[in-house]
Amino acid sequence: MSDYLLEIKDVSKFFHGLVAIDDLSMKVKKGQIYGIIGPNGAGKTTLFNCITGLYTPEKGEIIWEGKKINGIAPYKIAELGILRTFQTIRLFSEMSVAENIMSGRHIKSNQKWYNGIIHTPSMKKDEKKNWLKVGELMDFFELSKYATTPAGDLSYGLQRRIEMARALAAEPKLLILDEPAAGLNENETIKLAQTIRKVRDQGVTILMIEHDMDMVMSLCEYITVINFGAKISEGEPSFVQDDPVVIEAYIGSDEDE
């Protein structure tokens, strides 16, 4: 088995004949903070949707811990330990913060079908264990005082934190973050970077899309740059930053806007 947690091999995804991801390959090492950057519409989120099973790529392989996982249902991908957040926040907005985070405990809970009707001592123990874990996460993300507040009533920055806490509740091996700093102010962004580092230090591999270049360059250990669905550059931040191809892609895209 290779020392890569996740390998993307020659993956292509088309929408109505238009190429969204073009023969893309990349490898994520265990314990890495891996960044994906590129202009808007480059296919970054599409790639995340392919990894998490929401889309099935037409070509290529997505390999998780040595096994091919493309075409597997999203809920099974989560069971494998790949959890994500969304670029456009997708919380259960009418439900409380604690209940939102509890959804991450779903795959860790071992309740049986009849426990929906009859409660047993072992089920109650399971329930308590999972709520306590939710409590820990609310403490870690400083959300405890909002425990019973509907998630949809909270600020953007808090909602991003809830999404991350929810994904971490499932104790993922790989945490996929889709633009975690979008909409955050400077202070919140600095705090987010610290949080991401802490999470990684607990043994979670991070794969993230981010537009905030300062954050990406200081946080990520390895970066892949995508434009028009294809990889145009990869390497450590210092390399990617100075790569003429990358500079051109970004300046070029600015002119388009």
Binding site: A73, L83, R90, A98, E99, W131
Partner: protein, 315 residues
Amino acid sequence: MRQSYKIAIVFLIVMGFFPLFSNSSWLAVGTTFLIYSVVAFSQDIILGRAGAFQMGHALFFGLGAYATAILNVHFGVPIIYTFIPAILIPLIMAIVLAGPIIHLKGDYLLVATIGFNIIFIQVIQNDVFGLTGGPNGIFGIDVVRIFGVEFMSQTAIYYMSFILLTLTLLIMRNLDASKYGRAMFYINKDDIAAQSMGINVRYYKLYAFALGSAIAGAAGSMFAIQYSAVSPEAFNVVQSIMFFTIVLVGGSASLPGVLIGTFVMFVLPEIFREFATARYLVFGLAMILTMILRPRGIWPVKFGNIPNYLKKDTK
């Protein structure tokens, strides 16, 4: 304890003493109310919690009623034993029927479930295998006998219905505080997010259909006992629309809401019986106004039902 449970307990206490203060005709109305409340809660599991637009629920209510009627009248099975098939047959049928269409969203599922209900009515009206009695239905259903004791008074039937509703409320409470109940809410609120958290949408929706239909079947059996007869019009699409409406007017996933919905849709028409058909004008308008003024129902559900040890004071 959560407010809605307190209300449910107060409601049960009031209903428990109701027979002491009412005559037999009101007792019959009360019994029907209890039975329809059970059906409304079973609809709520599917519609209010799992968010599946089931508009053929009377089919499963009817399956339970007909199971009891057919087994008792045609095969002489004692009523008490017909309870089990009256629960299992709707449960199995729910999985068989809903299985292939469970992936349908909103309005598509709604139309498909109406289709099932229409076919069901067609089948029982045509007296299949000479068992369903055609348009007239089945008469002469026996009374409940346990150890040779007959439970045939309206009061006895009332209390059997009361026990059924109490059990249903217990199930609702247990469901709320379980992985299965929460999974339904997650699917309902955002199925993409739910899947990404590892929730098998299809499985939990089918679970909701199976559980809801089994409970509706039990209520159907009780309904057959109450009227000692069953006939097709009690289980047609109009009834399904009523159950659907109760949940939305009362408040999806809200225990007090569903009770209020049932009261408004079934008991109020009885109270205002003297106003004849004019009352339906009022009800139609009330339904429309509720949806405009209180789109989440008269008594909307309140989330945030979490253990007390997680409720910390604001720092």
